[in-house]
Each structure stands twice: as C-alpha cells, then as structure tokens.
Subunit: 150 residues, 6 copies
C-alpha cells in the first residue's frame, strides 16, 4: 500500500522552509499532497491560484508531489486521498505547542491519521509566511525565502 | 468566610477542558463563578446567551457554580462578587507565558486577588475553543470536546 | 474539613521564593505542611536539620505552617497528613514542563491529590536554590534571597 | 564611530518596560532612536502623534534618545540612520521565539545589522501594550505601567 | 528498499510512552530497531540485560521490532543497520529543544539520517523514565507506566 | 571609557557557537574577556590549560580578545576587569529561562553589570559543549563544531 501524506497549510506564501519539509518528507512517503487550505471568506496576500501554480512549478520534476486546494476539515480531506499521514514541520516551541493540539484533535476526528513531524532545517527555521508578507509589502527582496520567482 | 473564585473567559465555546478546571476548582473553593466576558463590539461564533444557558445546564446540579456575563475589568468584577481568587487552567507553555502576564497585572489592579492555577487534565489539554470553532464551522463532530449538546 | 496542603521540596536552601508561595498559599489552605524531602544517601549543601530550624524560625509566628522531613513518595506522605493538595510555585516554562509531569503522576498515585499552582512573584522568580548555593560557595552575599539569617 | 541603535516597535502605547530597555540600552549605545512603526492603514488605540509627544516628553532630558515615525522595512530604516544595531527587550519565551525569527531575517536583509537583546527587568516583564490597552479601555488605572501621564 | 528506523534511548526503564512511539512508528517504517545505549561506566537503575528481555517480551509478537544494545555513536550505529531514520517521541517543549539539537548534529554526522518525530499520546506524555525510577525506589506501584511486569 | 565585556563559561570545549558570539560581540564592545570558569574540584573532559591555549590560538590575531581562568563569582570577576557587561549567547528557550535567572542574580550582586544577549547564528545553534563531548568520546569527528584543531 502506498504511503500517502498530506502537507496542509495556507501557504501565503509557500516558503523554502515548506519546500525543505516536502522534500525530506519524500524520503518517508511515496506521495506528498500539498493541501492548500483556502476559504473564499478569508483574505489572502498572495493570490491563491497563482500560488498553486508557483508550487506546482517548484515540484514540476517531482512526480510524487501534487498540489490541491481544499475547503474542509483536514481530517476529512485525508480520507478522500487515502492519506494516513499528515506531514508537518516544527521550527520552534511555539510551533510545537500549536501542532501538539492540532495533531491530537486530528487523530480524534480520524483515528487512522498519524501526524509526522520533521524539524525544519536551521537555515530555514526563521522564515515564516507572515514575515515574508511583511517584507514583500514594503518592497524588500524575498527571493532568498521562496523556492520560485514572484 | 466563603472562598469564592472567578473563572473568567470568553467561552466561545465552553469546553470539557473548562469543565475539568471548574469541577476540580470546587475542591478548592466554596463557590466558582464562571465569568463570561462579553463585549457587544466583539463578534462571537457561538451566541452568548445560548452559551450561558449551555453552561448553566452543564452545572444545573452543582449549586456552588454560577454563570455571569460581564463587560468590565476582571479585577473589578472580582470585587463585586467578593471573589479573592481567579481560577485558571494551564494547558501548555504558551498558556503559561500569557497567564503569567495577566495574573501579575490583575494582582496589581486588585491586590486582594490571587490567581490559582490547575494544569488541565491530559485528555483535555489539546482542546481549545478556537479549534472547536474551526471543526464546527466545517461540520465536524465536536460533541467529544464539549460537556453539553449543541 | 480542613484544607491541608503539602509544599514539597528539597529546600537546599529554602528561599524567599518558597516563602512567597507558602504565605500566598495560606490564603487558600487552612494548613501548609512544608515537606522537606531528605534522603541520607543524597548529599546536600546546607545541613538538613539546620535548614528545618531556619524554616521553623521563619514561620514561628504562623501557626498554620509546619515543617516535616520525609523520605518516601510525596503522594504517600499526603495521605498521612490528610493533605488533599500539593502546593507548588511556577517560575517559568522550564518549571511548568517539569511540574506538569510530576503532577499527573502524583494524581495517578493518589487520586485525591490535587496539585495547585501559584506563579512566583516577579521579584523572586529568578531565585533558585542552585544559584544560591553557587553564590554562597564563592562567599557572595545571599541574604537578599533567603528569609532568615545563615 | 558612534554606536547607534534603533529600538523599533509600534508602542501602542509605549510602556515602562520599553523605557527600561531604552535606558539600559544607553549604557551600550551612544544613541538610541525609538523607531515607531506606523502604517496609516493599520488602526491604533492611542493616537500616533500624541504617543510620539509622550515618548519625547519622557526622554526630554536625554539628548541621546530621539523618536521617529517610520513606514518601511526596519532593516532599511537602519541604513538611513547609520544604525548598526537593533535593540530589543525579551520578556519571556514567547518573545524569544518571535524575536529569534525576526532578527535572522533582519540580518539577512541587512548584514550590517546586529540585534542586541536585554532581558526586561522583572518588575516590568508582565506589562504588554495589549494588556494596557485592555485595562485602559475599561477605565482601569494604567499609570503604573507607563512613564508619562495620559 | 526497506524503511528501517532506529529508536535510540537508555530505557532505564522502557515505558508505555516508548511503546506508544514504537507501535505508531510501525505505521511509518518496515522495521524499528530499539537501540538501547549502554555504557558499562554509567550506572543504571534497572539491569541492562533484564531490560532487554522485558522489551523483547513486550514485542514478542511483533516481528518488525528488535532490540539491540549499543555503545557507540547513534549516527554510526544507523549505518550498520542500514537505518536511514531515527524515530523519536516528543512530550513537551523541553524535549523539543533537546531533540532539535541532537537531530541536527546526527544529520551532520550522517547526512543520510533523518530524524522523524511523533508527539507522545497525551495519556503517556507525563511519564518519564526518571519519574518511574523515583516512584519505584520508594516502593510505589509503577505497573501503569510500563508495558511489562517487573 | 572602554566598553569591556566578560564572556563567561566553562568552555568544555569552546565551540564555533562561542566563537560566533565573541566575534559578533566585538561589534559592541572594545574588549571581550573570555572568562573560563574553573574549579579544581569539578572534573572536565578537556584539559583546562590546553583549552585556554586553543582559545588563545583561535583569537591570536584579535587583540581585543583575551582569555582568563577564574574561580570566583562572575559578578566579582567583572569588577576586577572593570567589565560592565556580560556577553551571553541564546540558542533556544531552555537557554533563555536559565540565562534570565542568572542575569537577574548577577545584576543584584553587581548593579553595574548589564547582561547583553545575542542570539546564536542558526548554523551553530544546535552545537553544545555536552554534545561535542559525547561525539568526541565515541571517536566521532567534531572538527566542524570547533574553531581549532584538537
């Protein structure tokens, strides 16, 4: 049976930290589905469809990675894709406390769902989507923080 | 003199984790007043009056627990109810850092006010009101996270 | 029924931070038993009997505080003294993680035992027994950190 | 060469904790520029120009402190003022994780920029701008938390 | 190619928390090698050979789990067993900070080695080997904390 | 007046992380005195005199850095060297909580003494002296973690 993992997030934008986790996740899983949560009522900084394209372009030579938009419970989405794993990166203790809660609830909602954590590589651990938005808003150069061109 | 504690929060919604703290708090205090902060300018997910009813129903057989809406400083509310204690649950280090600040400020505003902490039981430590709202919004089953029916 | 709390620790030495927790604990409990863990095989820096005397002297005018040496499980000791509460201070997140574990295990060993936490007052939060030992060893003045004279 | 540090923040409002860091920073730096981030699209609780005046008044006898409004990247602002240092206070671990990320990104954007941290004095560590706003909104007395009169 | 993971530790003693991680790890890996670090100069509380037997007994019906003693670098041991993964459990933020450091160093020593983290199930998160030793030393009942009989 | 900082530690061994803090500290201070705590009763892994030589060799071309052995309170040593600053690196939240306590106590013992923190560069944040000792003990290659040859 194929080991399929969801890598859920809002990816506003997708960062080199995210890319790091996906690529390292491929050593564990046969397929990684990048699941981009999108709710039409929530505003984003980067256009959702453009971001899907950027991510697809990033992994265009990696068959085992796909990108999907979703607007439902992650635990439900996992069933649709026969994904028994959620893949998540941990950068620091704030992440840990948040992910700890989410993972227990996801397991409660779908007891087949195991959340697997990798610690973000040190060179990417300081990058967050919110910092990139802030830098980009003021015209700063964010090209070192993302794995594609804007 | 009766030992009266306020248990303040926005309770949007009230969770089994909150219930756990109230019930264990009753071993320390003669009365626990569940003080539900409500400000008409702040929007809630669950209706405030309905939530009061749900909480009252939860504790309908527990005389020493009452529910009050308030829209003022917690430190002031405590004086009104002759409450010398605030009761708070701690789930993790993020909670700790937040509660640490709040409790020092409350003590400064009302030097009779002691904040007393219990650590949330492990089975409820992953439950937060915000996660429940997220699950409920997407139609997920939250009945295991709350001590009443919605 | 009297509310009796144990305040367990090795108190090598007892600090102003410990005193802060005991005095504030008296607002919650009718009696606080300072339970000084002592194991003849473990070496201490400050003599155990001398420390008992210093603590007794510190609280000589406070009838509701007593000091006991013990060499057994805290959860068992609590039964002997009809203590249904453990009183503990939290200084920071490192304390929190440690105390979280200990309190769950104590509750497992004695399901009548509730651990109640107060956050150490800011002016005492940096004081630890180990720092005091280090300062004292090098002849530094520790009188501001302890509530008695050495 | 003069050692010039920026002390960036939104200061809504400026607190005694901020004042503590600025004054202690003067032992390290020849000049401290309090850089108040202001974006006309973001709403504030305290008026931005009034707050500038309050801060200027606070340091009116301290020549080496100045106050500037800015609406650009902090790393860019630093270049304008020939500031090679950012001065930041740390109150707790939540601050630490946040500041850790920001400081790495700032250093990436401007490799001449070193972020220097002081730990907030214990008596001010519980004060945050957001708590002050909350207390003030409800008519509570915040005069002990700020170094000027409102 | 088989996915083989080492689960390294001193296991003094092996706990239900460890068992939880091994069993959940089997959903990710084809084989899990429980690698028990043992150094004749370091004293243990539980006999090393007896503990190996207890762990083997715990997993006697699970072919994909084996137990090995080792006294070398974990990163080297992994090469011997063609293990490309280290499996580790995270209970709290203190664990996270420690494991973060170790995992980066292991990856540096063996760049084929990926450390994969699962968060310990809440019911086991408070159990540590050191607490079990403390309880056992004083004759307390530890049977609920370990998956075998002592 | 010269700005002189002590950089205290046991340096068993001195790491690239330590070197990072010293070199970045030189942008703040006119002189950095690496103060190596040494107590003949405490055993070390690396010989104390050899380590002093390694550190001196590391900074042989940097006149503003010196190395001193000491066996007294850091707060007292600072007075001897007219050092008004302690320089410390922060790697993570565990470091933060520890350093927070130490810095308050040092300031209490010597109110002229300000502890200044830099956050360790990400590439060195996982390196600790204790991990290096562990790797070295088992014959692993530690040359990437230290700025000199062993």
């Amino acid at each position: 049976m194929k080991r399929i993992a969801l890598f859920p997030g809002s990816f506003d934008p997708f960062t080199k930290g995210h890319e790091d986790i996906v690529l390292r996740g491929l050593r564990l899983f046969d397929e990684v589905v990048i699941a981009m949560g999108h709710n039409s009522r929530k505003s984003r900084y980067f256009d959702v469809n453009e971001m899907v394209q950027k991510i697809e372009y990033t992994f265009e030579n990696v068959d085992s990675v796909s990108v999907k938009l979703y607007d439902e419970l992650t635990a439900e989405l996992a069933k649709k894709y026969s994904a028994n794993y959620l893949l998540r990166g941990l950068r620091n203790t704030t992440d840990f406390e948040y992910e700890n809660s989410i993972s227990q609830v996801n397991r409660h909602l779908n007891d087949q769902l195991e959340t697997v954590f990798l610690i973000t590589s040190p060179e990417y651990a300081s990058i967050s989507s919110s910092i990139i938005r802030e830098v980009h808003k003021y015209g700063g150069d964010v090209s070192d923080f993302i794995p594609y061109e804007l």
